[in-house]
Amino acid sequence: MVATPLGEPLHAAWHLSPARRLRINQAGLWLFFFSESFLFGALLAARFYLAGTERPAHLNQLLGLSITSILLASSVTAYQSEAAIKQGYIGRSLAFLAATIALGLVFVAGVGVEWTTAEFGIGEPYGTAFFAMTGLHASHVVSGIVILGLVYRLCARGRFSKERSWGVEAAIKYWHFVDVVWVFFYPALYLVSW
């Protein structure tokens, strides 16, 4: 018999309570993060396979630290947005969502600057790893910005509330996941030495 992730027959899924459906949504989102972590983990492993723990001498450390701080700051504004909507403060939630989107855009711009000013080529082992890792990560940041933008629009139109906040919560969890990935990518690309 075909069953839902929680073991009920599939036809029963149509009659699930909101709480049960939320639980399935949460499980699905975390499974997605789990599958994505293999992709990013493979890139992280490839960085050390290709270039060992070596890194170029003239990496722009200040830029790396700055974009890392910006992404961490965007995680706290995302968290504040989620906390606000769960308490029913829609206006405050929207303001923090807008701040998160703005910080995300600054992060992407920072990566763009890094790409255009990098003193290593894509053909070098480190360059291959660097451009692949930052490129894939930045594409996730861009998709996160698009998702947060859609959520902002829906939220502004009254689609979400204190009682119906899963859409906001899911988008923000995705944003935090992208931040977690960078928490590992930043030291691997900019700081590590052996």
């Binding site: 204190k162 928490v183 030495s193």
Partner: protein
């Protein structure tokens, strides 16, 4: 009143976690500058930072907790 207190508590927690993450990032940077073989300490700091985000911001514990009605 109770809602306001919950909101203030959640907001404070968010800023505290952010402060901790900022300090850990600074420590990471200093370790990279001062310690020659830094793979292990950097990995430990990254795991701590990722765990803090997953625990406090992503509410990973909610996966094992009965959800509230609604949403």
């Amino acid at each position: 009143m109770n809602e306001e207190r919950k909101e203030a508590g959640a907001a404070r927690l968010g800023w505290l976690v952010f402060a901790a993450l900022a300090v850990l990032t600074a420590v990471e940077y200093i370790v990279a500058a001062e310690v020659g073989r830094n793979l292990v300490p950097l990995l430990v700091i990254a795991v701590v930072k990722a765990s803090a985000i997953a625990w406090y911001f992503m509410h990973i514990v909610a996966l094992w907790r009965a959800p509230e009605e609604g949403h």
